[in-house]
Amino acid sequence: MIKLRAPLFITRHVLFALVAGSVGGVVFMFFLLEFDHFTSSNEFCLSCHSMTYADDFYRQSVHYNSPSGVRASCGDCHVSEGIIMATYDHAVGTKDLIKQLFGPDYDDPVVNALHLPEAAFAARDWFRTRDSATCKRCHTQEAILGTRANTAAIHQEDAQGKTCIDCHVNLVHRPVPERQTFKREAWNQLVEEEFGLEPGRAAEILAEP
């Protein structure tokens, strides 16, 4: 008869620690899952006032209003899939929270609009380094047919070697030029005209700490 016997170093305390650790680990994993889920929701993102400006344009886009009722949330596009990468993205994303708390007053629509281009460039870089992974959660390139005659052919022949974000910029949020042709002075002027500011005021606002 074989007698199962725990090794000697498995003392009662160790056993207790293992059980507690396992249970704690499982609870922590559930917590992370729920945490990532919650912090990917529109409600969470929009709990910062500064995000409501992004929301305005999002609500006009087909990613919010699709005829089929499929609606992409903030996290669907901006948080990676899988608990590890999702947690990582949220960890990195805390810098936004820190900036929100200690940086410029992004709640101010003027400040928000003035800083928008850099945010857009960073977001595009994020999509590009991940090969537009979050787009592909829903969109399968080979299956794109479109409503026009040659949309399918373009996505199969001409999109080779490209990633979604290479072509599909300015899809959801306020249009911003690509970094290469972006002109800060022109953007400042646009914001000044939009908010009725004195010429040169935008540059002053940007220079404020």
Binding site: A149, N150, A153, I154, E157, D158, D166, C167, R174, P175, V176, P177, E178, R179, Q180, T181, F182, K183, A186, W187, N188, Q189, L190, V191, E193
Partner: protein, 514 residues
């Protein structure tokens, strides 16, 4: 070779008889075009926008190896540059861009009445487009012909209040003026298309410059329509009298090569008169050192070479060359001579000039003088188009008067007369004068009558008894047998311009009170 000298003579003879190329040839080396990324554009755009791609594919540009990037490439620093599929491009291809290859045409059109079409009316546009109607009309109306001042928004997009636009005086983001595609349809840029009268029709039609209608109603238009197949429109060179003789088009007279006259992209070069002004003026064409051009009234002394002049946009330039009205008329007439005799040509020009001078002396100048007097005496407000008389005056010279003058310039009797000077006369006597008198009130005798009395043109009104059967009624012949005694003193109309109030009511003013 058996006959080397004969061969040489034949070659030289062949070269000498070869036609000189009237259109400027592209001198840029072919290595300067054929951008390596061009093929990638085509791969996608033949699916995404097959219409324009196919037009390009059938074009001379395609045949020469000129692709999308050659025209649309941009520098990242350009205000309208955008990143598209990894390339930096601009939507608008300006005359300056086309000028990279087509330098001669770019320089010729620069400063022309076409290129300056926006600047010339810039100050006047708000009166009609903003006040009378609304700003939307500037984008959809005025600017579609005169060109817009294209605004690039801070996000890199073109402001929809100013674009799409291919108006010929468009002020482009790169600062150049004009739009080649105004006449040269994208993306085929077919020379045959640009030589057709239809190339001009989008703007040169309608009440104020009915050149399409005038041309079609002229003998030139009649012949063009009947003999279009013989126009050789697609020829490499297109010299009137040499490559085609069937009929002239707009291009032939205003831009085309003819005999020894070279082609030009300065479309106003051969025009003596301003025909779209309240009073027509003969004009100098002044070419400035920087290539810009100006037109100045020819009743003053010509500006001297080297003097400084202010341009339409407010900047200044140094005078380089001045072409007087005679020189401009001479160039136009040389085109005529390819098909007409010298006396025919000179006499036609006499007929044309006489119409312009008649318009000026009988209607344009008096009407302008009366309006000026009414403004000066504050009988009219300075604000345009808030009084009916201002519309009447505007239509007198801008529509009806322009039509009469254009009709005479291009030999459409219908437009010179029924659509033109007849309406000018009807307006002047039955609307303009009665309204002006009403505005002037008691001051009419001081402000209006002297203007009319100053010229013999209006004396005919002083003979109300001069009958004519045109309206179907003639006074019965006076009985000859019993001559009645002379009435004591028939009250003569003192003058045409100052009829008694009662008389005026029953005559011109009664008909004009609309």
């Amino acid at each position: 070779m058996k006959y080397p000298i004969l061969f040489l003579v034949l070659v030289v003879a062949a070269l000498m008889t070869a036609t000189p190329a009237p259109a400027a040839k592209v001198t840029l080396d072919a290595s300067e075009w054929g951008h390596p990324e061009g093929d990638n554009c085509i791969s996608c755009h033949r699916k995404a926008s097959p219409g324009l791609t196919e037009q390009w594919r059938q074009s001379a540009h395609h045949a020469a190896g000129v692709n999308c990037m050659d025209c649309h490439q941009a520098d990242p620093a350009d205000v309208d540059a955008m990143t598209h599929e990894g390339q930096v491009i601009a939507t608008i291809v300006s005359p300056q861009d086309c000028g990279r290859c087509h330098q001669t045409e770019f320089e010729e059109q620069a400063g022309s009445v076409h290129a300056e079409a926006h600047v010339m009316i810039d100050a006047r546009v708000p009166a009609l487009a903003h006040q009378l109607t609304g700003a939307a009309m500037q984008a959809a109306g005025c600017d579609q012909c005169h060109g817009s001042r294209v605004k690039v928004r801070g996000d890199g997009t073109l402001d929809s209040a100013t674009w799409p636009n291919s108006g010929i005086g468009r002020i482009n983001p790169d600062g150049s003026k004009g739009s080649c595609s105004s006449c040269h349809g994208r993306h085929a840029f077919s020379r045959a298309q640009a030589r057709e009268p239809e190339a001009c029709v989008r703007c040169h039609s309608g009440p104020d410059s009915p050149d399409k209608e005038v041309f079609e109603a002229s003998k030139h238009g009649m012949l063009y329509k009947a003999q279009r197949a013989a126009m050789n429109l697609d020829a490499d060179t297109w010299v009137a009298g040499q490559d085609y003789t069937a009929a002239p088009t707009c291009v032939t007279c205003h831009m085309g090569a003819a005999g020894k006259i070279p082609a030009t992209h300065d479309v106003g070069l051969r025009n003596v008169w301003s025909l779209n002004t309240p009073v027509s003026m003969q004009q100098y064409l002044v070419v400035l050192e920087d290539g810009a051009k100006l037109e100045l009234p020819a009743d003053s002394k010509p500006p001297k070479r080297g003097t400084e002049l202010t341009k339409a946009d407010g900047t200044t330039g140094i005078v380089k060359v001045v072409a007087g009205p005679d020189r401009r008329r001479q160039i136009m007439s040389l085109v005529c001579l390819e098909c007409h005799s010298k006396t025919f040509t000179a006499s036609f020009m006499d007929q044309f000039d006489a119409v312009v001078e008649l318009y000026n002396g009988k209607f344009g100048e008096p009407a302008a003088a009366i309006m000026e007097a009414l403004y000066q005496h504050q009988l009219l407000t300075p604000l345009p188009f808030d009084e009916p008389l201002e519309f009447t005056y505007w239509e007198l010279w801008h529509d009806e008067g322009a039509r009469a003058r254009h009709g005479a310039a291009m030999a459409s009797p219908n437009h010179a007369w029924w659509e033109g000077m007849y309406l000018v006369g009807r307006n002047f006597y039955s609307r303009f004068l009665p309204q002006a008198r009403a505005v002037a009130g008691e001051a009419a005798g001081e402000l209006i009558d002297p203007v009319l009395e100053a010229s013999a043109h209006h004396q005919w009104l002083a003979q109300p008894e001069a009958a004519n059967p045109i309206l179907g009624w003639m006074p019965p012949p006076e009985p000859e047998l019993e001559p009645e005694p002379e009435p004591e003193s028939e009250p003569e109309a003192e003058s045409v311009a100052a009829p008694s109030d009662a008389e005026a009511d029953s005559r011109i003013e009664a008909g004009g009170d609309d």
